[in-house]
Symmetry: C2
Subunit: 226 residues, 2 copies
Amino acid sequence: MKQNSNVPAFLSKLWTLVEDSDTNEFITWSQNGQSFLVLDEQRFAKEILPKYFKHNNMASFVRQLNMYGFRKVVHIDSGIVKQERDGPVEFQHPFFVQGQDELLENIKRKVSSTRPEEGKVCQEDISTILSNAAKVQVQQETIDLRLFTLKRDNEALWREISDLRNKHVQQQQVIRKIVQFIVTLVQKNRLVSLKRKQPLLLNTNNSPKSTRLQTMVKETVEDNHH
Amino acid sequence: MKQNSNVPAFLSKLWTLVEDSDTNEFITWSQNGQSFLVLDEQRFAKEILPKYFKHNNMASFVRQLNMYGFRKVVHIDSGIVKQERDGPVEFQHPFFVQGQDELLENIKRKVSSTRPEEGKVCQEDISTILSNAAKVQVQQETIDLRLFTLKRDNEALWREISDLRNKHVQQQQVIRKIVQFIVTLVQKNRLVSLKRKQPLLLNTNNSPKSTRLQTMVKETVEDNHH
DNA sequence: GGTTCTAGAACC
DNA sequence: GGTTCTAGAACC
């Protein structure tokens, strides 16, 4: 086996262990070389493991295997009673194949979740989301209330406008009638007025605001002449 | 031990196993009776376990212990080298105490998570939450837009009202001046009018709307007399 | 990255 | 509820 520095210590040791013919009675390649067998789990754990690792527990060994993506090969036992209960333990990995050590570097250890993962949803995130949702809800209620108030104001404004427009029209009519009355009056008194040389002033002070009335009267008079 | 049917099979068997003096060389109470010891893990697993359970794996036994809330008692080894590596395995549970079998019924198996747990946050929940948040956001924008429109309408309405009020005031002034003019006119022509026996009608048709003008004129005339 | 204890999940 | 395989998490 090439001393490939890209391959983690565990995989190097495992490869050596499986290859080594001295340990074949405990751990060795399976028939087809696609997996390896642990033949005597108990002695393997207590006698072999500590020579390569810092422990003598099968569980720790299996944990590492799973960490590197190895899967246990389960034996169906052909449906009959489970004879040979303490049969060999078998593990397999697509890139752990007899005679193909160049595949080893493709075996990756699963990422440790020491830091809280980015993609993971923790309770804190949920709390934040729910808190924000509550805030949005409160905000929503405030807006709804304001919307309702505005709408009501709007309706009141429309009513007032309608009222003012009506008043405006009524005043317009009043003014028109007054003007007609004046016109009638003026026409009847024209001769008299002309004799008295009295100018047709409609207000005592000659402010610009009087112009409008004068114009109206004039227009009405002229209209009547048409 | 009372045959308490409330106690799960595992706990009954474990209690029996620890109590039984025949198995004391494999599993027994610790000194203070607050925990139990497995003295020879390998022989215990292969020789004792299958007599009580449907397996001979220490791992399965430990899994059950954890499932029922037992905790391993870890030995500090006083900081010195870990001698006695294969020392006894020790497990403890607050309600698993020598001589107090009545406490056993307080030990509860942790709920199996076969069904997706209620209290658990799954990816689906997150998706739902985010989806709803997006909807709320869209809704919020709609409301904001409507609020903006309403506000603008409101301002326009206020402007129109202000405008109409001004017009109203102006018309009011116009009317007042017209009335004053008429009053002046009427006062000057009073003698003439009286001689002619002409009634003071301000409009050709005698509709109710004319009442207002008549009243105004009358009031103004009376005001001028004060 | 390695070791240990505990838990999740699937299957029985 | 029990058994098995795999994974999480803490600690080294």
